[in-house]
């Protein structure tokens, strides 16, 4: 374990980033250590960057520890550049951060001046030329080479012809130098959150007709689709709010399984949603505003119509059917099965709403050898208790009674022993819990594939090992085979 970064007090003690934790602790036993969390740091920096919108619209991240604000034309609002910088620094320090800032003509200049403080200088150019050569950030190897060549400051490098520097230290050294001195300009990539798509229509007079409101909504959907198209996106969720003049609002929400930006498709879904409402859309004294928002959008490539009605069209169309049914019946009612990595049969799959996008799952391939299926087509969850007659207590079933019908077992295969997940048991002991409580720990199950005299195939199991786990192990039916 190494130290990722240190605060000023620790640096004053002579600790350096990159030191092993053991060394640092040996030197300073009272060191307070926290786990490095680069993602949280990045999140925090992004929040600060978004907060900097109060100073300038062009604010960029300078990872890992910096922000770059382009304050051209903004400083006078705060009473000058220094006043703005002080304001910003004060604000951040109030949140418990240590802030250093520098002002320069270029982003690279400000970055370097902030990290390599030079004393007072006549002007910015002089200050930049006094920076150490490391400020160019050329990497360890070049920094050593520069030092060996006796080039200690940026000014030393700037005094040499560019061609010589390029030959010795590479093109990037010249680029970095020029960027620092403001000779070549690198554009700043400001971080700007994309405004959410939100379209509103206000009516001068309340609209008493739902049909007209829907017509307006169609136009709004077309506009939303156009805006999504410009971004190369498609909406996964659309929210429509009908505001009534008496203050009531009807929110509607539709979801799609694939990104959509086609206005008729959106409107079909909205129409389905309206049809499925238990309480019909009542204009009352009229709607005075409509709002359409797209809270969730995903990248969607511009589509090209398939010339021969290819595969893409087909997939789209089944997705559209899934969307339609999900909206009418409820999103949880249209499902797809997804495998889960568990040997406990009832936990080996999940039924998830089909509108949720997910990577294609890999089911075990069907066996080529021509063995009959080892797993049933229907699974009872929870398993249903049955009465079984077996010749010996831990032997195969002889006949069983399920749903008041007696089944003579003519063929059986088993037992297939499925043990509980002992590693999830607390204090190393499995408690004998009854089946179907949803607990993973439990008793060992002995599964039998059985066939009764009429040819029906069942999956039944004995719950608990006879003698060791249970005195009278119960029997359950867990599934039906085709």
């Amino acid at each position: 374990m190494r130290l990722a970064t240190l605060d000023a007090d620790a640096l004053a003690l002579g600790l350096t980033p990159g030191m092993t934790l053991a060394d640092a602790r040996a030197r300073e036993p009272d060191l307070r250590v926290f786990d490095a969390d680069p993602h949280a740091d990045q999140d925090w920096l992004e929040r600060l960057c978004d907060g900097s919108a109060r100073y300038t619209p062009v604010a960029a991240l300078d990872s890992p520890f910096g922000l770059i604000l382009d304050i051209s034309g903004c400083a006078h609002l705060w009473g000058g550049e220094d006043a703005l910088a002080r304001e910003a620094a004060d604000r951040l320090e109030r949140h418990g951060m240590r802030v250093r800032h520098a002002l320069a003509g270029t982003a690279e200049g400000a970055h370097a001046l902030c990290r390599f403080p030079v004393g007072a200088a006549a002007d910015e150019d002089a200050a930049l030329r006094r920076l150490p050569a490391e400020a160019l950030q050329l990497g360890e190897e070049s920094a050593v080479a520069l030092r060996r060549a006796g080039l200690r400051t940026v000014g030393d490098l700037a005094a040499r012809p560019a061609a010589v520097l390029a030959a010795r230290f590479g093109e990037e050294a010249v680029d970095a130098l020029h960027a620092l001195l403001g000779l070549g300009r690198r554009p700043l990539a400001p971080r700007r959150p994309r405004p959410a798509i939100r379209i509103e229509r206000r009516f001068a007079e309340p609209m008493g007709s739902t049909a007209f409101a829907l017509k307006t909504l169609t136009e709004m959907a077309a506009e939303a689709g156009e805006r999504l198209g410009e971004r190369g996106q498609g909406g996964r969720r659309f929210e429509v709010v009908f505001f009534r003049s008496d203050g009531l609002a009807f929110p509607l929400r539709v979801e799609t399984s694939l990104p959509v930006r086609d206005a008729p498709a959106i409107m079909r879904l909205v129409q389905e949603r309206i049809d499925a409402l238990s309480d019909p859309l009542d204009p009352g004294f009229g709607f005075d505003m409509l709002r359409l928002t797209v809270p969730q959008a995903e990248p969607m490539a511009p589509t090209q119509l398939a010339l021969e009605g290819g595969e893409a069209r087909r997939e789209e169309s089944v997705a559209a059917l899934v969307d339609r049914l999900s909206i009418r019946a409820g999103r949880a009612r249209i499902q797809r099965l997804e495998p889960r990595d568990s040997h406990i049969p009832e936990q080996a799959q999940l039924a998830l709403p089909a509108v949720e996008s997910r990577p294609p799952a890999s089911w075990p391939q069907r066996q080529e050898t021509g063995d009959p299926p080892m797993r049933p087509l229907h699974l009872f969850d929870p398993p249903q208790p049955i009465e079984v007659v077996a010749q010996v207590p831990d032997g195969p079933p002889h006949r069983f009674r399920w749903r008041r019908a007696l089944h003579e077992v003519t063929r059986y295969e088993g037992p297939e022993r499925i043990a509980p997940e002992w590693w999830t048991a607390k204090d190393g002991r499995l408690e004998g819990k009854s089946v179907g409580e949803g607990t993973s720990a439990g008793l060992t199950r002995d599964y039998y594939r059985v066939e009764d005299a009429r040819g029906r195939r069942y999956w039944i199991f004995r719950h608990g090992l006879y003698g060791t786990e249970a005195v009278h192990p119960g029997w359950f039916i867990h599934g039906l085979f085709a």
Partner: protein, 281 residues
């Protein structure tokens, strides 16, 4: 006399136009792989037509299993939709992915709709049948299902003809009533061919053809599903209980060469709309 014949022909044409069935146009067929069954059905189950499978409630494993397998055959690589009610899930258990995969039905290509009641189920079924991208549709109905009357089944049939999606209706505990179905079957499980050690073998189904539009009915077959190769085979168990078989297709050796044991009257069919490699795989 000649006039009446003319009138009769005109009436027939008129009825055909009302029914929107092109009278002489043969519809695409889904071969099951079982030679005599395919022959009796002129090549297999008709695509884009309603097929009903009746079974008592305790035969649900066999009935839904058979319908799903036939749906898979009809769909090719396209997705399947299995519609059932929430009550069906409580009584008959949940569809189980590993079991579907073992039967040769890719769960990835299966969408399951669990509807609140029969009315919603039938509405969703008509909707699904209007979507030509769907491979096939399995509708599981329990009890008498009074909502599935002649009108409702006609609606399903029309939607299916329009799109070419094959609907397979599984009627658990229902009684045959007049409907627009192309074929109507009774399904039951049958004793399988035991594995060594008397274990249950491959799924075997007893299939009675109760009714067929413009065709012979009252036939009976016993099919065995070969999940490895993806075709139905003739059951070759000890005691043969077939009552009435279509003519055996003669000793066509083309499809039988790779088979370890010769079977009586079974062959590997090649349907017109699926590539041969697909079948062989």
């Amino acid at each position: 006399m000649a006039e009446s014949v003319k009138t009769l022909a005109a009436l027939k044409r008129h009825i055909a136009s009302l029914e929107r069935i092109p009278a002489a146009q043969p519809c695409a067929r889904v071969a099951t792989g079982h030679a005599s069954l395919d022959q009796a059905l002129d090549g297999g189950l008709a695509r884009g037509r309603v097929h009903e499978f009746f079974a008592p409630p305790e035969e649900e494993g066999a009935a839904t299993g058979l319908a799903l397998i036939l749906a898979r055959l009809a769909a090719g690589e396209a997705p399947l939709l299995w519609l059932r009610t929430a009550a069906a899930g409580r009584v008959g258990g949940m569809p189980y992915g590993p079991g579907l995969a073992a039967l040769g039905i890719d769960p990835e290509q299966l969408v399951i709709g669990v509807m609140a009641d029969d009315a919603m189920l039938l509405r969703a079924a008509v909707d699904a049948l209007r979507c030509p991208a769907l491979g096939a549709l399995v509708v599981e109905l329990r009890g008498r299902a009074p909502l599935l009357d002649l009108t409702a089944s006609r609606r399903l049939a029309l939607a299916a003809e329009g799109s070419g999606v094959t609907p397979l209706l599984v009627r658990l505990g229902g009684d045959p009533v007049p409907s627009a179905a192309d074929t109507r079957w009774r399904v039951a499980a049958a004793p399988s061919l035991p594995l060594p050690g008397n274990g249950p073998g491959m799924s075997v189904f007893d299939l009675h053809l109760l009714r067929r539009r413009a065709g012979r009915d009252g036939l009976h077959w016993r099919l065995m599903w070969d999940n490895g190769r993806g075709v139905f085979e003739e059951w070759r168990g000890g005691r043969d209980e077939r009552h009435d078989l279509g003519q055996h297709v003669g000793e066509q050796d083309s499809g039988r060469r790779d088979r370890p044991a010769p079977l009586s009257g079974a062959m590997v069919p090649l349907s017109a709309d699926r590539p041969a490699a697909d079948r062989a795989a």
